[in-house]
């Protein structure tokens, strides 16, 4: 029993850390620009292919090398997506629906590009770290520990950026009151672009951490996207704190469900938990849904 609990704790922790960075990327874009980015999972997969090309697929770089190339590339990709996919439909009536549909279309474009370029066969990435250690009688892979450490570090860096950096404060200002941000001199369009850039970086970072565990395949971005979507709604659309709580709560639920009922029950149980939360708090754990 004790062993099961320890196991649930470690797998919940590592899942929660990953869900946290992945869902934060989706939430960041919604929070700043009110765009629900359906292409997020596909952008994540595209970044995973990028990581594969940089490592085993083509250039043979090690993980630090992949990181140094992939992060700026993902940021630039996010900026381009905002500029050429989102902005053209932004200043129109019904833009919320229009941007949502545009991102859905863009998701299909990316998925099929990946399918054409890389083929239907899934790619495997080398492990981040080999070996395992014993903690409280449980065998924990070094890979898992590295993932937890790096993901939590990324979350801490993002939080520090949003709290103290002037640009981070501008992002929070835009998410709380767009008109208020414009009248203090914040260039709202640039903040939208920054949001997309950071979001793409978070997706790429998650891809880097997850690809060694899951395979890289053309439609592989949809299951994590679906989970991120549930987490973001659960936490309250656009709320960073809410997303972090939701990510860890649902991760521990998932770990417990796997240990007790088996993996097929994850999503049904998630949706029951989500419905229960939305019944009590219709805007999610910490959502405000302000404009």
């Amino acid at each position: 029993m004790m062993l099961t609990l320890t196991n649930i704790f470690f797998s919940g922790l590592s899942l929660g850390a990953i869900y946290c960075i992945f869902a934060l990327g989706l939430s960041l874009v919604y929070g700043t620009s009110r765009v629900l980015n359906f292409a997020y999972g596909s952008m994540y997969m595209t970044a995973a292919y990028g990581a594969w090309l940089l490592s085993d697929g083509w250039l043979g770089l090690n993980y630090p090398g992949v990181f140094l190339v992939l992060m700026p590339a993902a940021f630039a990709f996010g900026l381009l997506v905002e500029r050429f996919v989102i902005r053209p439909v932004r200043n129109r009536p019904q833009w919320k629906t229009a941007t949502m549909m545009t991102t859905l279309g863009f998701a299909f474009v990316l998925d099929n590009l990946n399918l054409v370029v890389f083929g239907p066969t899934a790619k495997a990435m080398p492990p981040l770290m080999e070996g395992a250690v014993q903690i409280l009688g449980v065998t924990v892979a070094n890979q898992t520990l590295a993932v937890v450490g790096l993901a939590l570090l990324a979350v801490a860096v993002l939080q520090a950026f949003l709290t103290w950096a002037p640009l981070g404060q501008a992002m929070r200002a835009v998410s709380q009151d767009m008109a208020g941000a414009a009248i203090v001199g914040i260039r709202v369009n640039r903040v939208f672009a920054l949001g997309f850039g950071l979001s793409a970086m978070l997706a790429a970072f998650a891809a880097l951490l997850l690809s060694p565990v899951y395979l890289v395949s053309p439609l592989g971005g949809w299951p994590p996207f679906l989970k991120a979507f549930v987490i973001v709604v659960f936490g309250g659309l656009g709320s960073t704190q809410g997303v972090m709580w939701a990510a860890f709560i649902l991760a521990f639920v998932e770990a417990a469900v796997i240990a007790v009922f088996g993996a097929t029950w994850i999503l049904p149980v998630w949706f029951v938990v989500l419905l229960a939360v939305l019944l009590v708090r219709p805007r999610g754990l910490m959502g405000k849904w302000g404009n």
């Binding site: 404060q169 709380q176 009151d177 008109a179 208020g180 941000a181 203090v184 914040i186 302000g290």
Partner: protein, 224 residues
């Protein structure tokens, strides 16, 4: 002349909101615009402050054409909008709101000096620095909106209905502080619903009705 608006037309879709509006705001003046709700007061202020694109007409600021510029470009020139809805950052503290007011200012000493001025004018804000803006009372929220405008280093402050939702005594206090901001050298463009409220404080005064603007005297004694 500080702001010169001439033959300005603004539309919301097919709705013609402002008709050939012309007015000027003299340098260092406290200029008033009065009119009932829905007649275009806020629209006019938003157009001047770069939050709405006029369809035709010109706006100049110290001789430079500014119609077509966005709000951040105007903030950089010292034209600051204090909105009727206040548009505060409700999850941030009073201090964070004020500091964001100075977002476009890089000179730290200037920011520091402006913060001291805001706290001198509104001691309440100094007491509530750490409080989250969403929990302020109506009067405090209005003070914060004005304080945030001062933090931007406004040379022209366009203030939309500062009396909105405030008790008469508080409104008087708010108008007194706006007069103090004006006396310290900032040009004020003040929009209100009723002339008696601001008569004697503003000059010149314009009346706005169904999107048309006409002069309403120099404000002295008018409507009293």
């Amino acid at each position: 002349m500080s702001i010169e608006v001439s033959a300005l037309n603004v539309f919301y879709g097919d709705f013609h909101a402002l008709h050939d509006v012309s007015l000027h705001v003299p340098e260092r003046s406290m200029t008033g615009i009065v009119g009932a709700n829905g007649h275009g007061k806020s629209t006019l202020l938003k157009a001047i402050c770069g939050l709405l694109r006029p369809r035709s007409g010109t706006i100049t600021w110290r001789g430079e054409r500014i119609d077509g510029l966005d709000a951040p470009d105007l903030v950089a020139r010292g034209i600051v909008h204090v909105a009727e809805a206040r548009h505060l950052f409700v999850d941030m503290t009073v201090r964070e709101n004020l500091m964001l007011g100075a977002y476009a200012t890089r000179d730290r000493a200037a920011v520091r000096a402006r913060l001291d001025r805001v706290f001198a004018l509104y001691p309440r804000l100094a007491e509530r620095q750490g409080q989250v803006a969403g929990t302020l009372s109506g009067g405090e929220a209005q003070m914060l909106a004005l304080g945030r405008g001062m933090m931007a280093g406004a040379e022209l402050m366009a203030i939309d209905e500062p009396s909105l939702g405030l008790a008469p005594a508080l409104t008087e206090l708010m108008l007194d502080t706006i007069a103090a901001i004006n006396a310290a050298g900032t040009t004020i463009l003040l929009v209100e619903q009723s002339l008696p409220l601001i008569a004697g404080r503003v000059s010149p005064v314009y009346e706005i009705e169904e999107g048309k603007v006409r002069p309403a005297g120099d404000g002295e004694g008018a409507g009293a």
